[in-house]
Symmetry: C2
Subunit: 243 residues, 2 copies
DNA sequence: ATCATACGGTCATCCTACAACTGCGCAAGT
DNA sequence: ACTTGCGCAGTTGTAGGATGACCGTATGAT
């Protein structure tokens, strides 16, 4: 292939790199909503790629509602409120404060998830939750298998709410958190905390099985707080101070 | 342009149509996670478009983590849990039950949003919320201006939580709901309900201004329930029955 | 002054060619 | 028989050019 000098670095595929670059420019406010982007040809020149690559990048951003392309005129930046998709920047989660906020959101979702599930769950829902719990307890160390079972446990509860959106949102948030703390966990082994973790899950399960919404919600809230603390994220402190 | 006979219909841009078609095939389970997609050339033939269009469609799905393409091998369907984006099918919201579920999720998010905001909001946050409230009350009929102010009100509260993810998620959910009920509203004018709606918002604002988290949360919960009822969606009933 | 038309710019789509990568088979060497 | 290396076919990734569709504006005729 012809040698090209690209202004953007590293490993990812070209369209993704261009999309990320544009996305950051938009998020960062370098291009304000309503403004027109450079033409595809100009972007192709700027990034040192073909117009095809630029179009694929724009296709991604357009699917998210971040920009709107109008034939014969150009592509325009949309207001952040009218996005058609939610996407979480994995890079941003390396910042401790963002991780705190995401855990806070997770706490909200999961607490209510457990509350609703306790009120609604059927016996087969409980079976699925129990199965995940057993698998979690079966492992003697907190490693990949346990983490997988942990996710299964929380997803099974979310599914037991009977609300597919709750399930989708919780799955998504949990997955983002998992992937972000995966590498960090290696430097901070948690093997000795397995019992604590499993005990918290058992408490949640018992409340669900007893169909006690309030107890389930409370147990879940404590569990998320504990889980956050175990990866070095403090939640409760923020409630008591102003902005 | 050369005449082509496409197997897929209507108005949208080609890549979007192809992406939707593939997306539905995947969601519908026609292609199970882990399976390989047909090659780009085959898809191009199948849909009656060029390979370029197929690539743009795949670029979108890839950005969502729905499929993963590996050079030299092919494209593979990913498990739904490892999506990197949340997207809500506007079509699905025409089903009343899905709308109920989305309102339920909104209720959860907004209730906690108000609770947190009451505990944390600063004076400039309150100013922004008050401004939206005044603008809402300024209109004598519930129309576009009021709806815009309504969204502003809820977003201002979400912003006052100081949690950007809460803001993003609430903005997203509210926008999805707004766009879905926009046309339906025309057949069901709500002009006479403006006072009720504004009164509910005032109650929320008062609780926020008084920094009373519990009252704010409760007022918000009732408001969302009321708002749902006003567009023909019933929420509370579901809590009392099993799946 | 008004309206129809022409023109350039831009996105949309198509096409072809080539590069990079993978998996597999085959043949030569051990 | 086993290993190693090479090449081939298939697939995605990227480049670049050509043409159609659409928009805004300038131009010119009425």
């Amino acid at each position: 292939m012809k040698q090209r000098s690209s202004i953007i670095g590293s490993v990812e595929a070209l369209p993704h790199r261009v999309a990320s670059h544009l996305s950051r420019e938009i998020e960062g406010g370098d291009i304000i909503p309503g403004a027109r982007l450079p033409t595809e040809s100009q972007l192709a020149d700027k990034f040192g790629v073909s117009r095809n690559v630029v179009r694929e990048a724009i296709a991604q951003l357009r699917a998210d509602g971040m920009i709107e392309a109008r034939q014969g005129i150009g592509a325009f930046v949309m207001a952040p409120e009218q996005r058609t998709a939610i996407r979480i920047d994995r890079e941003a989660l390396k910042d401790q404060r963002n991780m705190e906020q995401l855990f806070e959101l997770r706490s909200i979702l999961e607490t209510e998830s457990a509350t609703f599930a306790a009120a609604r769950c059927a016996s087969d829902d409980l079976d699925a939750i129990k199965a995940a719990l057993d698998r979690m307890g079966g492992e003697e160390r907190w490693e990949d298998g346990s983490i997988e079972a942990d996710l299964l446990f929380h997803r099974a509860i979310a599914r037991a709410t009977g609300n597919s959106y709750i399930y989708t949102f919780i799955s998504f948030v949990c997955e983002q958190i998992r992937q972000s703390i995966h590498y960090a966990r290696l430097t901070n082994p948690l093997h000795d905390l397995v019992e604590v973790n499993v005990a918290e899950h058992v408490r949640i399960y018992d409340a669900l099985a007893a169909h006690d919404p309030q107890a389930a919600g409370e147990a879940m809230r404590r569990h998320i707080e504990g889980a956050a603390a175990r990866v070095g994220v403090e939640l409760t402190a923020k409630l008591n101070r102003g902005k």
